[in-house]
Amino acid sequence: MNRQIRQLGIALLLLFALLFARLNWVQVFAAESLTADPLNTRRVVRDFGQRRGTIFTADGLPVAQSAEIEGRFARERRYPQGPLYSDVTGYFSFEFGATGIERSYNDELAGHSATQRFESFFDFFGDGDVSADVTLTITSEMQEAAANALGDRRGSVVALDPRTGQVVAFYSWPTFDPSTISTTNLDAARAAKVLLDDAPGAPLLTTAHRQVFPPGSTFKVITAASALENGVVTPSSPVFPERVNYQLPLTTVTLQNYGGLTCGGDLARSLALSCNTTFAELGAEYLGPQPMIATAERFGFNNAPPFDIPLSAESRFPSDFGAELGRTGQTSLAQIVEGSSSLAQASIGQFDVRATPLQMALVAAGIANGGQIMEPHVVGLVTDSTDGAIIERIEPSPWRDALAPEVAATTANMMVQVVKDGTATVLERGNLTVGAKTGTAEIDTSNGGDDTHAWVIAFAGPTGGEAELALAVLVEAVPGGGQQAGGAVAGPIAAAMIDAYFN
C-alpha cells in the first residue's frame, strides 16, 4: 500500500501546486484587470468616506469635491457645477462604483498611486493626507459656451487643441447631476440610478465618446484625403460632372445630392458644396476598398482612441467589401468589388460607417495638426492637495499619423474653402483662418422618415498661424423632426465655440 500512499501524496501535492499557480494568476497577473472590472466596487468602497482630492477646471473652478458630513460616512462627494461636467468627472458612488475621471484618476484622488504611497511611507509626522487634486484642461468658459450653444437638444460638443490633444470642452446632452448618484443617502442614490438608466437619451452613456452615429458628409474629408494621398486626384483635377445623381456600381439604384441639387466640379469645389455624387464615385471607382479602409483606420476608425475618460467606443468603418470583380466601371481606376455600392455610400459617411463625436473632432484635429493626431486628454495636472506640488503633468503624446503633412495641408486648405465659399459660411471669421466640413447624416429611414443628424467638424486659428482649436458638433436627429442641415443647425454652435475661444 505504501506505493499508493506515496502516489496519493504526489497527487495531492500537484493539486495544491495547481491552487498555488491559480492564486498567482488571480492575485498577481489578472489582479489589474479584475480591479479595473466595472463591477468591482471594492476600491470605491475603500475610498468612500476617505479624504479625496478636488477636480478643478483649467481656470481653477472646483467641479468635484468632498464635503465632510455627519453620519455613517465621513465625507460625501459633491459636484458644485451640477450636470455641466458630469461627462468628464463621472460619479463616485458607494454602490455603483466610479466613472469618468473619478474612476481613471481614483488612485491619485484617493492617494493610492505609487508616488503618493511612497511619500506617505516616509511621512511620519504629517497628517497622512496624501490625496491629490486633479486639474482638467477644460476651461469653464468653453464648457459653458458648449452647454449654452447646444441647449437642450440631444447632441454633443467636443473641442480640443489639435497641437497637444488637450480637450477644452466636452459636453453632451442629455446629461445628469452626478451628486444624485454620489450621495451618501444610498436609497436616494439607487433611485436616481434607476431613473437615469431608463431616461430617454441614456444620459449615463455619454454621447460624446460612448455612442456612435453615422458621420455623414463630415466623412468626406477622409475620402478626399485618401484620394489625395493615393494620388488618384488633385484638388483641381479631374473635374467631376455636374449632376443630380450617381448610379451606384452594379445596381440600378441612384444616389442623390442633398436636397436633390445639381452638384459637381473639381475636388475642392465638390467638398465645398458637399457633392454626394463626386465622393461616392471617388470612393467606389477611383479608390476602392483597401485605400479607403487604410485611410479611415489611420484616422482612428476601428480603434478606440486612448482617452483618460474610460470606456470610449470604437468608431467603425467596414473592413470588408467582398471579392474583386474586375474593372467594370466606366471611369474606374479601382477594382469594382461586390460591395462597391456599399463602398460608395460609406465614402459619404453612410452605410455602416459610425463615429463618435470625439472621433470626428480628432479627424479635424489631425488635419489641422499636419496629419498627426495627438492623444486626447481632459486631465492636465495632478497636484498634491496640501502643498500644491506637481505630482504628474500630462505631456502631449502623438496617437496616430493619419496623413502626410503636405496632404494634410491640402485637405486643410480645401476645408477653409468650405467656410469661404461652401456649406459652412456661417463659420467665417475675419481675423481667423477657419476650416470646416458640414454633415447631414441620414439615420435609418426604414420607417419612411427623413430625420437627419446635423454635424460640423472644424478647426480655427489666427490668420497665417497654426490652428489652435479643433472641434466636432453633433445635433442628433429628432424623431419626426425632419431634415436638419449640418451648416444651419450645428454651424452656429461651432461658431459660438470659436468665438468663445478666440475672444
Binding site: M1, N2, R3, Q4, I5, R6, L8, G9, L12, L13, L15, F16, L18, L19, F20, R22, L23, N24, V26, Q27, V28, A30, A31, L34, T35, D37, L39, N40, R42, R43, V45, R46
Partner: protein, 443 residues
C-alpha cells in the same frame, strides 16, 4: 513517567512550534484590530495566554498519551485554527465567541480521543457500530430535527445548537471503510466477478461498501450538499485504491464520477447554477456568479502582500467566515499569506501520509491515509471553488472556517492521526536508539 522522556525530542519541537504559532496568531490578532479600529486590543495579553494555554494543554496531553507522535500535526492545526479565529473575529464578533467555544471543545475532544483510543486497532472492533452511526448521522437531517439552511438540508437542531452530523459521519465511515476494506481486500483484489473488462469482487463481499457509499451519496444528493458528496466519493475511491493497490478502481471510479457529474448537471438546477457560476460568473454577476466574482475581486485586491488584516473588504463575499474564509485570508494577507496557508495544509498532508507510511498495521495505515485524504481533498475542493479552479461546492476549510461540527470532527481526525503516528515506534524497545532519531521536524 518513562513515556514522558521517550519522545521528548519530538515533543520539544512541537512545543516550540506551538509557541511560534501562538505568536503568529496573536500578531495577526493585533494587526487586525489595528487595521480595523486603529487600536491595540485591550485583551491581547489574555488572548495570547489563552491561545498558548489551550494548545499547551493539548501538547502536555500528547506528551503523556502519544509521546512518539509526529510533532508537526498539532502545531499546524493550532496555527490554522488560530488564524481562522482571527479572521472570523475580524468579520463577526458573535461568531468569534462561538468559534472560541468550539475550539475549547475541539481541543477537549482531541485529548479525549487520545485518552479513549489507546491503540488505533481497537477501532476495528466497532466497525459495524460505526457504520450504523455514520449512516444514522447522515440520515438525521432528513428527520424532523433537521434544518434547511441556505438550501441544504444538512443541519440538525438540538436545543440551541445547530450542527452538521455529516461532519462526524465522514470520520465514522472512514473507520468503517478502513476496517472492512483491509479485511476483504484480497477478495477485492482478486475480483472473480467479471463485468466487461473489469474484474470485480463478488457482489456479496462488495455489498456493505456499496451500501455505505450508495446511501451516503443518495442522502447527500437529497440534501443538496454537493461538496460533502464529492468528499465522500473521493474518500471511498482513495481508500479502495490504496487498499486493493489496483489503479483500475480509482480510474473507473473517477470515470463513474464524471458520468454522474454530467447527469447531475443535466438534471439538477442547483448543480447547473454552480457550474454556470464557475464557467462564467460574469454572465450573472449579481446573481449566481456573485459570490465567486466578489471572491475574485477580493483576492485580486489583496495582490502579493495583501491589504493587511482588518483593512480589506472581505465581508462583501457572502459566507466569508465559513466556505469563503480562504478569500478573506487571500485578500488581507495576500498571495504570501494564502500560500502560507496552502503550505500548512501540504505539511499537514505530508505528516498524515508519513504516519500512514510508518504505520505497521494495515488497518492503521489505511485509516491514516483515508483521514489525511479527507483533510487534503476537503481543503482542495473548497480552495479550488473559491479560486474558480473547480465549480463551487460548499464545504468548510478544515480548522480555518467557522463551524463547530467541522472543527470538532477535524480535531477527532487530528487525534487519530496523532495516535497512528505514535504507533510507529516499536514499544518493545524501551528507548529509541540514536539511529532511529529523525531530524527535527522544525528544521
Amino acid at each position: 513517567m518513562k513515556a514522558f522522556f521517550v519522545g521528548r525530542h519530538r515533543r520539544n519541537g512541537e512545543l516550540i512550534l506551538i509557541i511560534l504559532g501562538g505568536l503568529v496568531t496573536t500578531g495577526a490578532y493585533v494587526l487586525a484590530s489595528l487595521g480595523r479600529l486603529s487600536s491595540i486590543p485591550a485583551n491581547v495579553g489574555p488572548f495570547l495566554g489563552v491561545v498558548l494555554g489551550l494548545f499547551f494543554v493539548a501538547h502536555v496531553a500528547t506528551r503523556f498519551l502519544a509521546p512518539e507522535a509526529d510533532g508537526l500535526l498539532l502545531p499546524l492545526a493550532g496555527l490554522l485554527n488560530g488564524l481562522g479565529y482571527v479572521f472570523i473575529a475580524r468579520l463577526n464578533d458573535e461568531l468569534a465567541g462561538q468559534q472560541a467555544l468550539w475550539t475549547f471543545l475541539g481541543v477537549g475532544l482531541y485529548v479525549a480521543t487520545l485518552l479513549v483510543v489507546r491503540r488505533s486497532t481497537e477501532l476495528e472492533r466497532y466497525r459495524y457500530t460505526l457504520l450504523l452511526i455514520g449512516l444514522g448521522l447522515l440520515v438525521l437531517p432528513l428527520s424532523p430535527v433537521g434544518q434547511t439552511i441556505n438550501g441544504s438540508r444538512i443541519w440538525v437542531r438540538i436545543g440551541p445548537v445547530n450542527f452538521q452530523p455529516g461532519e462526524f459521519a465522514k470520520v465514522a465511515l472512514a473507520i468503517f471503510f478502513a476496517s472492512y476494506l483491509i479485511d476483504k481486500r484480497e477478495l477485492f483484489r482478486a475480483g472473480t466477478w467479471r463485468l466487461g473488462p473489469l474484474r470485480l469482487p463478488e457482489p456479496k463481499h462488495a455489498a456493505p461498501v456499496l451500501l455505505a457509499w450508495g446511501v451516503s451519496l443518495i442522502v447527500m444528493i437529497s440534501q443538496k450538499d454537493l461538496g460533502t458528496s464529492l468528499l465522500f466519493f473521493m474518500l471511498f475511491l482513495i481508500m479502495l485504491w490504496v487498499a486493493t493497490e489496483r489503479l483500475a478502481y480509482l480510474l473507473s471510479g473517477l470515470a463513474l464520477f464524471m458520468v454522474g457529474a454530467y447527469v447531475a448537471w443535466t438534471q439538477f438546477d442547483h448543480v447547473q447554477t454552480r457550474v454556470d457560476g464557475w464557467l462564467n460568473p460574469w454572465a450573472d454577476p449579481r446573481g449566481g456568479g456573485f459570490q465567486v466574482v466578489e471572491a475574485q475581486f477580493g483576492l485580486a485586491s489583496g495582490g502579493i502582500t495583501g491589504t493587511g488584516p482588518g483593512r480589506g473588504y472581505p465581508q462583501r463575499v457572502p459566507a466569508a467566515e465559513t466556505d469563503f474564509i480562504f478569500a478573506t485570508v487571500g485578500e488581507e494577507l495576500g498571495l504570501l499569506g494564502a500560500t502560507a496557508l496552502l503550505m500548512a495544509f501540504v505539511l499537514m498532508i505530508g505528516s498524515g501520509l508519513r504516519a500512514a507510511l510508518g504505520a505497521r498495521r494495515p488497518f492503521s495505515k489505511l485509516l491514516a491515509t483515508g483521514l489525511t485524504g479527507l483533510l487534503g481533498v476537503q481543503a482542495f475542493i473548497i480552495i479550488a471553488g473559491v479560486t474558480r479552479v473547480l465549480p463551487l461546492t460548499g464545504v468548510t476549510l478544515p480548522f480555518v472556517s467557522y463551524g463547530g461540527s467541522s472543527l470538532l470532527a477535524n480535531y477527532a481526525i487530528l487525534a487519530l492521526l496523532v495516535r497512528i503516528s505514535d504507533e510507529q515506534i516499536d514499544r518493545a524497545a524501551d528507548a529509541p536508539t540514536p539511529t532511529r532519531r529523525r531530524p527535527k521536524v522544525a528544521a
